[in-house]
Amino acid sequence: MAAGGQDGLADQRAGFLIDRRFRVLTDRPQPKLGGHDCLAARDEHEVAGKIVAVRGVPMLRAELPAFLDLRHPAMLSHLAHGAGAGGYWMISEAPAGLPLSTAAMTVSGNALLTQVLRPVSMALDYLHTHGQTHRAIRPDNVFLGADGRSAILGPACAAPPAYRQPALYESPYGALCAPAARGRGTIQDDVYALGVLLLDLWTRALPHAGLAPLEIARLKLDQGSYATLAGNLRLPRSLDEMLRAMLSDDPQSRPLPSDLAHLDSSHARRSGRRASLRAARPLALGERFAWNRPTLALFCAEQPEQAVLALRTGALEQWLRRTADDPALVVEAEALRRDDLQLEARTARVGASDEQIEQNLRLARLISVLDPLAPLFWEGVWLAPDALGTLLAEAARQPPSLDPARASRLVRGLLASGGLEAWILLRSARSGVEVQRPPQKLTRLADTGNIELTLFRVIYTLNPFLPCQTKLLGASPVIGLREMAAGLEQLAATGGPITLDAPARAFIEARLEDQPPAGEAAGSGALPQSLRDLVLLSRCQVAARLGPLPGLATALLASLEPVLAEWPGVSRREVRLAALRRLAGAGELRPMLELLTDLPGRLEDEAAQTEARDEAAILAASLQAQPEVKRLMLAGNISAARDTACAVGALAVMASLLLDLL
């Protein structure tokens, strides 16, 4: 907030407005909040208290608008969000105190329970009742409240779910996944993170903090989360029991936030499942030895060839028979081996067009049999199905994280070939845990030939706040259709034709998804590329309620004029071309589209062309018959001429008679 009058005047000019209310002061950086860059902000209506603008990660959560309505005393409120200054910003309440990562806090069992566990659990319970998860509970995103004691949760929506969570704060299954692939999870994942936070606050130095995420996941799967994190630490009995439950590897064994919020009733759920049973003898998979099923599942993912070998030789089945507590597992492993043999025979016989997909599905099925709680493993990537969009968006942003070809295979295998549905069915049957799945419409989107376009379609459909990554508009972020159209208009002013690239096309398509179709030509697969671009841009112009776009329309002309080249009739075409140029000058994309897709006009002109073709055939035949016609005409004319001579002779006779008589 501006303190002095001069500062106040400067504030009036600096920054930009979000929701016509919150002014973001771009020249006043603030300390980071939960690891995110911050700027000072001010409520122009002077209703909100102290607020800040938090810069979001581009792949923001799709449920961001839902957080606008959520208010809880133990959670920083999310007031508004919008684009500006080259980024996307969340207006949030400013925390009153320091983050727990830096605050000096009295650490005692009772203080942890009353000042951290209880308020945070109440906030989580509030989120749970509203169907949301926080997924950003870590020391730098939990703050001390105004009283300097009780904890307050920081912003949840400035990044994809669990995107900035250290692997230690994630369950082993969350830690297996890349940060962008963890998914929104369940409230039990927040309970787990809260458990780790309590342990962290107690110990002030969690073990294994320097290990790679995969190593942490492996340790947690091998030893159990609690054993990995607490080690030989001696905790007060009440805290120890609670943390054991909260850090259970099975989400269903963790207490609910409502149980934790009422400390008395929390005792009822202290029944955290122990780590998976350790076998008497390990199973060797390559050079590694798996002592329990979750670890074996992890090794199978890391060494698929060895896993298939163990399955085919029956070693896996035998090991399960000796160690598994559930006989159904052995039956499933047997079925899997039979299916594998059938698949191999079929592949050898007819060849497999989708061999890669079959192999991925087989491996995912094997992992799911060994560890029903494991996330989806496909194309060498661990992911929660609902995080597919975030993962792909990050891959498109930072290609080394997931190369485009692999991302394309991921989309094709999971969405177009039904791999995801098959896995969800399997997973639901095995674990009974509901799986967050991506929207159904993606299956339709993925069922197209152009894999690059499909990839971007999926990315933009699943990430409604992701700026367009088109190279056409350079570095300036394009958040919505309005910015896209305005950017293209500006680009057109620099001259040269404009052709939409795959990101731009997919972005417009995804953002138009909820808009009513603006033209009957929309979605027509047989249209040439330039016309499809025009369909999209005209819809974009209508949806964004922008005025004329003469620059863009003129820039599109170069690619649109060849469309008219196929129109029958030179003069008719020229009339249309002149009309098209006139409309382009006026910047009206929709009438241009109507002109180019005028089906009745086209049919009329084609009918005229058919008529002209018939007439031309008749004329050509007449020309061919011309010598014969000429011969007949000659004979007739000579006869007529000689007859005329005869007639003159007759007249001469009569004249001669008359003269003689006179």
Partner: protein
């Protein structure tokens, strides 16, 4: 059928023979009764005969023109012959007085006129055909250009 055709041919031959005999009879009667007219007609014949022999047209248009013009040239000498008398002397006098030349000239004019008419007809035909062809070609070219049709008429 062959018999019927033979019978029909026989009848035609018989009719032609009859006609020849009637013509020969009429000539003999004319020579006998009107020797002057016979001399005049005989003097007028060469051009007619020449036209008759040279005209290959079934309709004999050249011959008809020559005949009509010859007749027009014959009217005045015939009138003179009627006034002088029908005997041989009168016929020879009229003939020698330039009647033959007049009849031949009239026949020649008729012949010439017929040929001139034929030439005019030929020229007119050529002109008409050329104009028609030009018109057709222009129309075809316009259609092909407007609708971008190939030479075969296809677009």
């Amino acid at each position: 059928m062959a018999r019927a055709r033979a019978a029909s041919g026989d009848k035609a031959t018989a009719r032609s023979g009859m006609r020849n005999w009637v013509g020969a009879g009429a000539c003999l009667v004319t020579i006998a009764l009107l020797p002057g007219a016979a001399v005049l007609l005989a003097a007028s014949c060469p051009v007619l005969l020449l036209a008759l022999l040279s005209d290959r047209d079934p309709a004999r248009r050249v011959f008809r023109a020559v005949a009509l013009f010859s007749l027009a040239g014959l009217i005045a000498p015939a009138h003179d012959l009627v006034q002088i008398g029908y005997d041989l002397q009168a016929g020879l006098r009229v003939t020698m007085a330039g009647a033959a030349t007049r009849v031949w000239a009239a026949g020649g004019i008729g012949w010439g006129l017929s040929e001139l008419a034929a030439m005019a007809g030929t020229m007119t035909t050529h002109l008409q055909a050329e104009l028609r062809e030009k018109r057709l070609r222009q129309k075809l070219a316009a259609l092909r250009e407007e609708w971008e049709l190939a030479d075969g008429g296809h677009s």
